[in-house]
Amino acid sequence: MNSIIFTAGARLLVALVFVFSLFMLLRGHHLPGGGFIGGLLGAVAFIIYSLACGPEETRRALRVSPEGIAVIGLGIALLAGLVSFFMGDPFFTGQWYWVGGDSYETSAFSINSVLVFDIGVYLVVLGGILSLTFAFEEEA
């Protein structure tokens, strides 16, 4: 597709969708959102980019191969689950550290293993969807 309107519009859209995907990732767990939805949106951003500029250009923009992203995401998700081993809890038990309080209502923000898991999921979904679409695009 060689439409100058689309290519110009895509630049705006890609940045917007990608930021929104990060927003969805970070607001997850307590509010609607999370790694899976975020990852899908992130993939959409890169798919728009690859429609505008072609898959090779998108691969260059990604720097890491989509399969690599997915596998690294899997590793991060596993690590998040294994953290609870050192805390003496069952696998995948969320570990929470509240900053400025002791619960969701009172604290300013929290550092937790759930977000790490969500980041892992985000990367798995992003990488998985992108490797699929690239396979289709590069075939044609």
Partner: protein, 499 residues
Amino acid sequence: MNWVLVFPIAVPFVTAVIAYLARNYPAGRWISLAGSVLSLVASAALMAAVLREGVIAAQMSNWDAPFGITLVSDYLSAVMVVITAITGLATAIYALGEIPEQTERLGFYALFQMLIAGVTGAFLTGDLFNLYVWFEVMLIASFSLLVIGGGKERLDAGIKYVALNLVSTLVFLSGIGLLYGVTGTLNMADLRGAVAASDNQGLITVIAMMFMVGFGVKAAVFPLFFWLPASYHTPYFAISAVFAGLLTKVGVYALMRMFTLVFVGDVGFTHEILIWVSLLTMFTGVIGAAAQMDFRKILSFHIISQIGYMTLGLALYTPLALMGGVFYLVHHIIVKANLFFVAGLAQQYAGSTDLNKIGGLYKSAPLLAALFIIPAFSLAGFPPLSGFWAKYLIVKAAIELNMWFVTFVSLLVGLLTIYSMTKIWGYAFWKPHPEGYDPTPDRAPPRVTAAMITPIAGLAAMTIIIGFFPEPFVQFAQTAAAQLLDPTDYVTTVLGEQP
């Protein structure tokens, strides 16, 4: 908490991640091998814990059953996990010899470890939806492994494989949905009570049949087996060995679990169907094998026929029959994986798996011939190898129930199995090579041959050990069968003491 239940799943997953990142380096294959050794250690620890405590369970994420995901292991799960790890290790060694470098670069070892993780997860989960997820993990990994390395034939086999397995998972998923609608729970232990208490027993039986179809496709029972011989003869031998050993057994395991734990309300109906399905599976499988002239195709059809014996053990539904079924399951994984390994080495030596094109292996590779005889005759049920005890238990159970037709078919299928095994023996090993030369064992570098013959020898040794000292294994199978028939311990361990 019970981390012993987590490690057999987590270790192959972590190995898969590291092996993928190291796929371009020779270190990748050693990481895979080390991961398989670690898996074996982890599953041995699980086995030790189960032997000590009977049934163990762990609630993931600290969400109590029936709300969270439960991992649970009784004797049957534990032995399946251990045998998975053993097969995994044998395959990891075998792959060192067989898998070419460009396939390694595509992430072969990562996919392989993912497959092992999926199989182990399916054996350990106590949650029906989680079981579905593990099925999907296995399906994705196995499809990729089936087509990896390319080629028209492999892609053709892969499409058939994935299409039919998708249908099966869909039926399974619909069954899960209906079951959740009727009972409001998917925890297997919780389902036992909820299904029994349901006032819509007719619908429960319908759901049970959906599960039977879903798992039946996975297990390759009559008449749903046609995907298996269409796909198992094309991939790398290491892969077809692991498929032949493990994948269908997950279906059998799931059948055994669901039809002893949950769907026991109408045994007269469901298990009667299973008896006929089993008999037809045994018979069609062995007849199909008789018609084939390819090493791996014969073995593929024999998987089907042997699956029939295992489901027959479940269908007869007596302590002795179930014990035979469990024993058969374990024995068959070892023997079948080994036969595919032998087929791979035979191809390495003689250049083909087509029985018309090869021959003379007995003369040029007597060691391989000896190592073929052990699993082949064990499969056919020759005393004193492991297959004899497995068949003996099933047949004895049938005789005790005065089911003479079942007894007759089991013995007849055993006889026909010998026919196919002697056919392979005659064509591949005894008859001279059709092109007049002796197949040379040194076609491949010695390192390759060593990597391929080590797992064959190891698994053959296990077959002999089970054959000559069956006592502890039979006792183990007896306890496993007793736990299956009376899952009180299983239910209370998962749900806690009920008031």
